[in-house]
């Protein structure tokens, strides 16, 4: 009996030893995930800080850092201070890949955050194999609907509503407002525009004129002039521009030069006054009267508690900079990142963070005026838009003086007026 027990004991010990060895050979996530220590979290962002796409976008990292510093000054996230490593990709996808590799391999960041642009985000995802390596790419600044597909991009999370949602909401607006007008569409001829075309199709909108352009070609002088010639020839009364702000600049400036008048309807990423002013301040008033779309509170809306807080933080951190859409985008992005990191708990791992956003992300506190759509199958952020009109200073003001938000999905779902009521901001604007 004693012998048997001894044998059992020995066997059990051996098995325990094996189990222990086995366990120790498994990745110890908390210890092995780069970029996290007991006192710090390192995040990385690659954005155009220089080059043609930089005006406006180059304010995003500074805005993010301002909010992270604010959080750090208030104790950090679960005791950890956040540092943000910033890289300049010039809006060139191959450069974005190189910079993302630097962030991952050299700076050893815990996660990427706020990557900007569909092409750069795709290039980074494909070339650095984020999914296979389990590296989170938080709250990418692109509305390409594909990034919300958790199966295709399991570690990537969008923050913007998809372009497809935007086109559906825009389509409803066009039908209601300009049903009897001649419509034209200028669109970026990549997945950005492809999303838009899909959304317009779902909304039942057909344009009389379609003008595609390759991303980047808007910087060539002949491009904008060519658009206006085509618009003139078509007699378009309402022109939708589904492109970036540098494309809007080319369109507005060339239309002005050619004395061509149309009702401009600009997609949400195409109406940034800062970007337009960077080309020529005199172009900003050309935005006046154009229709625009947004999902965040207007940067001029000092009645909004988030905007109020962000303005205060930014004024301290960047006293010489103007508070605009890009700052709101950057600070909102940082806020959501902090909220996600906070919710992931003290035992912070990459896998744990991803799981947290999938399971709790839809109820995260955030500044947006639309619900968040995060789930295990959908990595979509905001899910709707409000519609407004640009004033002479280039500021987008909600039509009717209040935010009327419409929500939808990237599929066949209807566009509906949202009854969503944003939860109150956490005390001091610090996620809990």
């Amino acid at each position: 009996m004693i012998r048997t027990n001894r044998q059992k004991l020995a066997l059990t010990s051996a098995l325990l030893a094996v189990a222990a060895l086995t366990a120790s050979s498994l990745p110890a996530q908390a210890a092995s995930d780069p970029g996290v220590t007991a006192t710090s979290i390192k995040l990385g962002i690659t954005v155009p800080m220089t080059g043609i796409a930089s005006p406006g976008y180059n304010k995003i990292p500074g805005a993010m850092k301002a909010y992270f510093d604010y959080v750090n000054d208030n104790g950090g996230v679960n005791g950890r201070k956040i540092t943000l490593v910033i890289k300049d990709d010039q809006y060139i996808p191959t450069t974005a890949v190189a910079k993302a590799n630097e962030l991952i391999l050299k700076d050893k960041v815990f996660a990427l955050v706020g990557t900007l642009g569909t092409a750069s985000t795709k290039a980074i995802s494909a070339s650095t194999q984020l999914a296979k390596r389990g590296i989170p790419s938080l709250f990418v600044n692109t509305g390409f609907s594909g990034f919300a597909d958790a199966k295709a991009y399991p570690t990537t999370f969008s923050i913007l509503p998809s372009y497809q949602m935007e086109a559906k909401i825009m389509g409803k607006f066009l039908k209601e407002k300009y049903a009897d007008k001649k419509l034209a569409l200028i669109y970026q001829d990549d997945d950005f525009g492809r999303d838009a075309l899909a959304g317009f199709k779902q909304a039942g909108i057909t344009f009389g004129t379609y003008i595609p352009y390759a991303s980047g070609s808007q910087s060539l002088p002949a491009t904008g002039a060519g658009w206006i010639s085509k618009l003139k020839a078509s007699g378009a009364e309402v022109t939708v521009l589904f492109g970036v702000s540098s494309a809007s600049t080319a369109a507005l400036a060339n239309a002005y030069a050619a004395q061509y008048k149309t009702q401009w309807v600009l997609g949400s990423v195409g109406g940034d006054a800062t970007t337009i002013a960077a080309t020529n301040k005199a172009y900003v008033p050309l935005l006046y009267g154009a229709k625009g779309f947004s999902f965040a509170p207007a940067p001029t809306d000092a009645t909004d508690e988030y905007i109020k807080l962000f303005q205060s933080i930014y004024a301290t951190a960047q006293p010489t900079q103007t508070f605009d859409n890009n700052v709101v985008a950057g600070m909102s992005n940082a806020f959501l990142a902090v909220q996600a990191l906070k919710a992931a708990g003290s035992d912070l791992t990459r896998a744990g963070l991803i799981k947290t956003i999938e399971t709790k992300g839809a109820s995260f506190a955030n500044p947006f005026l639309t619900p968040l759509g995060y789930s295990a199958t959908a990595h979509v952020g905001a899910t709707g838009y409000w519609i407004g009109t640009y004033d002479p200073t280039g500021a987008l003001k909600p039509d009717g003086g209040k935010y009327t938000v419409y929500t939808t999905d990237s599929g066949n779902g209807p566009v509906v007026e949202s009854s969503y009521k944003r939860p109150a901001m956490p005390a001091k604007g610090l996620p809990n």
Partner: protein, 545 residues
């Protein structure tokens, strides 16, 4: 005694280093006898001989031979003569000269010298047949190892090493004769599960045929050796001609006058030839960075638009020279060896191949509409249909299993256009489950032995990464092709220090039974401009994705 012993070792080493440098240059004439002809001078024995198949070989070891020999397998050499009229590919005359180590073919004996001076033996065959010679190389290497051991009976360890196709030879040797090999160094490995490389070359040539010259052959070469050779040379000439015309039309977008009707229709639709060229590269998976094009730089005045609009196509243009020539040589040779057509794209979804790239290179591709038109235009060119019996034979000629059973060091250029890094990634990915299985076995064994022996890692990869920026431009705004080649680009552009570092890591692992910890490997790699990062990945072959 101790001091004098050390002194004598140092003297021998120094003497060896000096003497190999001079002795190797004077290679003895190849012997046709079964036994090698050897000469010993100044502590170094150098032998030359020929195997039973007539393949010449060379063996070198010094008096301080430490019992470990490096068996070198050289990379691919064409099996046909190439005339000077096909410059810069020709002139080339088929040779089966023995090659004792890396860089030796170009007269650089620094690696051989360093290894011999350090006490290692070196040996290498020239192989009886060139081009796809896996079978011949396997036989020659097996015989060479026996010959070396016979001549140098203190031989204890054999490290097989090779570059490009030679890496296939080395890996094949380890997979088929594990008892003969103790370690491996695979440089710029053309690692290939079976048809990854066939598709790589075939897809590129098919794209060229479809758009730029319908007379370009993708496969279906004549079985008559003379006719086949003529066809191969003609194909190389056509590829080079098209490349020249594409180069001339880079800025204007003009198409070659040899363009297919489908290509001409694309031209009429305003799609520049560079967009179709880039699309072909993306279809095949050719790197979008090349020796002189980093893809992120632009000339003065176009620093931002050039990388977006032009650079990816220019990189494909530079890389396609290698791909098109190699494809013309290898597919024809593959057909000769297997007895039928080996490339098959009858079911290839080229739209899917470019799906993840079309946004990334949107400007250079001229937008989604242009990509759709380019891919749509492929419909006008019939697909290639392979002979199933021939395809079934491919693995025996170029295929590997991907099993890693011996300490293996890989050196890989991130943007290698000839043997894409995807091949190395395939081997890395193949090894992952093998290591996991070894762990499971160790755990199972521990249950009975009550002692857990953790498996050792057998594969390390030293990456020659492509730097973010290295392009230089001429005053006219073109890439300066006389400037220094970017690291991690081109095929097997490794320094002697890099080869030596890899060899010593392998030798160390063979001697101790395991690789050192990450720190020493990282440090050794960094010293020679390589990078060791277990988490670094490159995309796998497009045809296998």
């Amino acid at each position: 005694m101790k001091i004098s012993f050390k002194k004598s070792r140092v003297l021998i080493t120094v003497a060896s280093a000096a003497l190999v440098a001079t002795a190797v240059i004077g290679i003895p004439s190849v012997a046709q006898a079964a036994d090698p002809q050897c000469a010993t001078a100044n502590y170094i024995t150098q032998c030359a001989g020929a195997g039973t198949d007539g393949a010449p070989y060379m063996m070198i070891a010094a008096a301080n031979f430490n019992g470990t020999v490096f068996i070198w397998s050289h990379g691919i050499r064409p099996a046909i003569n190439i005339p000077a009229t096909l410059a810069p590919v020709g002139p080339y005359t088929v040779t089966n000269a023995a090659e004792p180590g890396p860089l030796a073919a170009s007269g650089d004996l620094s690696v051989v010298n360093a290894l011999v001076a350090a006490g290692y033996g070196v040996a290498g065959s020239g192989f009886a047949r060139q081009s796809l010679n896996v079978k011949e190389a396997l036989a020659a290497n097996v015989e060479l190892i026996a010959t070396f051991k016979k001549k140098f009976p203190t031989t204890k360890k054999v490290i097989a090493w090779g570059a490009s196709l030679g890496a296939i030879h080395s890996q094949k040797l380890a997979e088929t004769n594990p008892d003969l090999v103790d370690g491996l160094v695979l440089a710029c490995p053309a690692a290939n599960p079976s048809d990854g490389l066939v598709n790589y070359f075939g897809d590129a040539l098919y794209g060229f045929k479809a758009f730029f010259d319908p007379s370009i052959k993708v496969g279906g070469y004549s079985t008559d050796p003379v006719v086949r050779q003529t066809e191969q040379l003609a194909n190389i000439g056509k590829v080079l001609t098209v490349l020249g015309k594409l180069s001339a039309g880079l800025s204007s977008g003009a198409w070659p006058d040899t363009a297919s009707p489908a290509g001409k229709a694309l031209e009429a639709a305003g799609i520049p030839s560079r967009s179709a060229l880039l699309a072909v590269g993306l279809m095949a998976g050719i790197p979008t960075r090349s020796k002189h094009v980093d893809g992120t730089s632009g000339p003065t005045g176009a620093a931002e638009t050039y990388p977006l609009a032009v650079a990816p196509a220019v990189a494909i243009l530079e890389n396609m020279g290698t791909v098109g020539v190699a494809g013309s040589l290898l597919i024809a040779d593959g057909e000769l060896l297997t007895g039928g057509k080996v490339f098959d794209n009858s079911k290839t979804d080229y739209a899917a191949r470019v799906a993840s790239d079309r946004d990334i290179y949107s400007f250079a591709l001229s937008g989604n509409s242009a990509v759709d038109a380019i891919i749509g235009a492929l419909a006008a060119t019939p697909r290639e249909v392979a002979d199933p019996a021939a395809v079934a034979k491919i693995p025996s000629f170029v295929g590997l299993k991907g099993s890693v059973t011996k300490p293996t060091v890989m050196i890989v250029g991130e943007s290698d256009e000839y043997a894409p890094a995807s091949g190395a990634q395939w081997l890395i990915d193949s090894y992952g489950p093998q290591f996991e299985a070894a762990k499971e076995s160790a755990i199972a064994a521990a249950k009975s032995s009550r002692s857990y022996q953790a498996p050792v890692n057998k594969l390390i990869t030293l990456w020659q990464k492509t730097a973010p920026k290295y392009s230089k431009f001429t005053a006219a705004g073109s890439p300066d092709l006389t400037s220094e080649i970017g690291a991690g680009t081109g095929h097997c552009y490794y320094s002697s220090a890099q080869y030596i570092a890899a060899a010593k890591l392998a030798a160390g692992a063979v001697s101790t039974g395991k690789f050192p910890l990450q720190g020493p490997i990282t440090s050794a790699a960094r010293k020679v401009g390589l990078s060791y990062d277990k988490k670094f990945r490159v995309p796998t072959y497009k045809s296998l994705s």
